[in-house]
């Protein structure tokens, strides 16, 4: 049988897993791997920093549903991946990260560029492997993709010593995978599902709380069907945005710290929450002891550890969101067929009232460029059909509030870890995954500077993403907290005029557009969307604009700060 190197085997296995693109950065311990890649038709995107590789793989995974793959060398290459891996872990994104390692005999000797990367990432990966024998490679790679992409998805790291990549192995060598401890529960317990259907039908004031689990399991269509039958309003988490169309009258958009007031009030008034693929993060629940005081909770999640973690649950259902929701829809239909359709008129009237009474708002008449205005224009001019990536901070919240997400996998945002610098590389990955789509990074001036070198990755690879920079000259979200809770003492949050972003993107070969007047906003967005290159539009927005409404940390979500209270607008 023909022999190949470990490195060639890795590429062969990646091909077998259907990998089409890898985001990475070479170095001493992965030269053989990159040499094998040289002969392969797998596309490789050379980033400018390994964090960018992990985020790009993450963005690619979020928009395609496939497993994102990134590669880094040992030591600093591997440690540079860590933020991106942790980010994917917190948001349950399927990813396989491959790192080079020093040769087996050198492990544990503090060899040049050695880092105990499996030890470092253990708490932020679903699983990790250190490959000690070339014959383990086929099995490990197969297992890694299986673990990353099934159950509750997440990142898996494979650490491969240099000499394992140069050892020889039979081309067709195979070992069956063996994961005796890994059996995710997919099908929900039907008895519980029946109980849930009954409880939902009996509820006077039910609300659905839809999370990222709906998107990762592809349950959006079933959710829509169920809602149509059951007439229940839907609140989403940040990661759940797009799982239910926001232009539907039963959509209450996002709840939580910067959610809509009507979503938060709906939670507070509801007598039943049907939570699907969400984990009741503290940014959603606010003060936990006062969260949804009148509601019982049905919690559907593929990860049993999420159920009962933060809130008390009446009916737990462990299983895949799509499969459980399909069963639930059927059981619900059976139930109401026998017992009649529940009367939800009062509740739906109340929901309608709340939506009308507490809309999201901003000062539309201001002559300054309001960030909400920019986002609304982006929504209009893209017909709501773009993929929106965000950075972290106010920009992220404005994007979530004012862009209407109507399809799954169209919002790419760092929810759990809140990683500044995620948006730009994630947009690169998203555009590679969905070249047919307009991909926009709604950026902040602070965040983008954490990764601005990736502009080079985008331009050189002709990944024509559009960056809409909401430039307020501040680390705005932190400044907002300082304004509200620290007597306007803006300690270390002012970054006014620190760089000319237009020149910066031009230096990389992209196009920069500066927008300093409200009248120019629309034209600039149109222009940017029409240019066949990477474009950064630098919007000089109202510097001290705040994100409203806001739940102060430690407060119940029913108590929201609003612009009128604080600014008399």
């Amino acid at each position: 049988m023909a022999k190949i190197t470990g490195a060639q085997m890795i590429i062969k296995c990646l091909k077998e897993e259907g990998v089409e693109v890898i985001f990475g950065y070479p170095g001493g311990k992965v030269i053989p791997l990159y040499d094998a890649l040289f002969d392969s038709d797998i596309k490789h995107i050379l980033v400018r920093h390994e964090q960018g590789a992990a985020h790009a793989a993450d963005g690619y995974a979020r928009v395609t549903g496939k497993t994102g793959v990134c590669i880094a060398t040992s030591g600093p290459g591997a440690t540079n991946l860590v933020t991106g891996i942790a980010n994917a872990y917190m948001d349950s994104i399927p990813m396989v990260a491959i790192t080079g390692q020093v040769s087996r005999a050198q492990i544990g000797t503090d060899a040049f560029q050695e880092a105990d990367i499996t030890g470092i990432v253990a708490p932020v990966t679903k699983h990790d492997y250190l490959v000690k024998d070339v014959r383990e490679l086929p099995k490990v790679i197969k297992e890694a993709f299986k673990v990353a992409s099934t159950g509750r998805p997440g990142p898996v790291l494979i650490d491969i010593p240099l000499d394992v990549t140069t050892d020889l192995i039979d081309e067709n060598f195979k070992v069956e995978i063996n994961l005796p401890g890994y059996k995710p529960t997919i099908k929900g317990n039907l008895k519980q599902v029946k109980q849930a259907a009954k409880r939902i039908a009996e509820s006077k004031k039910p609300v659905i709380f839809a999370g990222g689990g709906i998107i990762s399991s592809g349950a959006s269509d079933v959710l829509k069907k169920f809602v149509k039958i059951a007439k229940i309003p839907v609140i989403t988490s940040l990661l759940g945005m797009g799982s239910f169309p926001e232009d539907n009258q039963l959509s209450l958009s996002m709840a939580g710290m910067h959610g809509t007031k009507y979503a938060n009030l709906t939670f507070t008034e509801a007598d039943l929450i049907v939570a699907i693929g969400v984990r009741f993060d503290d940014r959603v629940t606010g003060k936990l002891s006062e969260f949804a005081p009148n509601a019982e909770i049905i919690h559907i999640d593929i990860d049993p550890a999420e159920i009962g973690k933060n809130v008390k649950v009446l009916i737990p259902i462990v299983g895949d969101a799509k499969i459980v929701l399909t069963d639930l829809k059927n059981e619900y239909e059976n139930y109401i067929e026998k017992k009649g359709i529940p009367d939800r008129k009062d509740w739906l009237t109340r929901i309608k009232y709340l939506k009308n009474a507490y809309p999201l708002k901003y000062d539309r008449n201001s002559s300054k460029i309001k960030p909400a205005y920019v986002i609304e224009k982006i929504y209009e001019l893209t017909g709501g059909d773009a993929i929106i990536c965000t950075e972290v901070g106010q920009n992220q919240m404005w994007a979530a509030q004012f862009y209407k997400f109507t399809q799954p996998r169209t919002l790419v945002s760092s929810g759990g870890l809140g990683t500044m610098g995620f948006g730009l590389p994630a947009a690169i990955g998203a555009k590679i995954g969905r070249p047919d789509k307009t991909v926009i990074d709604i950026a902040g001036d602070g965040s983008i500077q954490m990764v601005s070198q990736e502009l080079s990755t985008a331009v050189t690879n002709k990944i024509n993403i559009k960056i809409m920079l909401l430039n307020n000259g501040y680390l705005g979200m932190v400044r907002q907290w300082q304004e509200f809770f620290f007597k306007r003492r803006y300690s270390q949050t002012c970054i006014h005029n620190c760089v000319d972003f237009v020149k910066l993107v031009e230096a990389y070969g992209g196009v920069g557009i500066s927008v300093k007047k409200k009248e120019e906003v629309e034209g600039a967005i149109k222009e940017a969307l029409g240019i066949n290159n990477v474009v950064l539009v630098d919007f000089w927005i109202d510097k001290e604009e705040n994100v409203y409404p806001m739940v102060a940390p430690g407060s119940p979500i029913s108590e929201m700060l609003e612009s009128e209270m604080l600014e008399g607008v």
């Binding site: 030890g119 253990a122 708490p123 699983h127 250190l130 673990v147 994961l179 401890g181 550890a305 973690k309």
Partner: protein, 160 residues
């Protein structure tokens, strides 16, 4: 509250570190730990004793299940188990003290496993109450060194 948790894992490098990491990141100290292969050498049993609130233990067990190499977890009910630890106690013991020590050791059905001119070594197996009682009685003679294994435990056969 002390909880005894018995975990079956794949016998592989790094598994123990991951398990102990789940405890340490929550600030829980592992009071006692014993690891060894089962009748199937590919599978090891880890027996842990931890002090933690009921709710935290539940959450930790769920998190333990998420580790890919963990096969099975049991929280053992202290009233229905056989629990053992083994302790070696090196005592300073001249010829005058020996008869009294021997008497105590006999009562506890412990063993003398080493005798030197100025010291003795006692071996005892039993549950922690028994071991502690012996330790207390021997302390006045002067304990030079005490080595204990982690606790192991096995649930009793069903009575029906």
């Amino acid at each position: 509250m002390g909880h005894i948790i018995s975990v079956l894992v794949e016998n592989k490098a790094g598994v123990l570190a991951k398990i102990s990491g789940l405890f340490s990141r929550r600030g829980f100290n592992i009071e006692s730990l014993a690891v060894g292969p089962t009748d199937d050498e590919k599978i090891s049993r880890i027996t842990l004793e931890v002090n933690a609130e009921e709710h935290s233990i539940e959450q930790i067990i769920k998190q333990l299940y998420k580790l890919i190499n963990v096969i099975k977890i049991q929280e053992l009910n202290p009233s229905n188990i056989v629990e053992r630890e083994l302790v070696l106690i090196k005592l300073s013991a001249d010829s005058k003290a020996r008869p009294e020590i021997l008497e105590i050791v006999n009562v506890f059905r412990a063993n003398i496993v080493d005798v030197a001119r100025k010291s003795l070594m006692v071996e005892i197996t039993g549950n922690s109450t028994k071991v502690r009682a012996l330790e207390d009685l021997l302390r006045p003679f002067g304990i030079l060194e005490l080595v204990r294994t982690g606790k192991i435990a096995c649930s009793r056969g069903s009575k029906d």
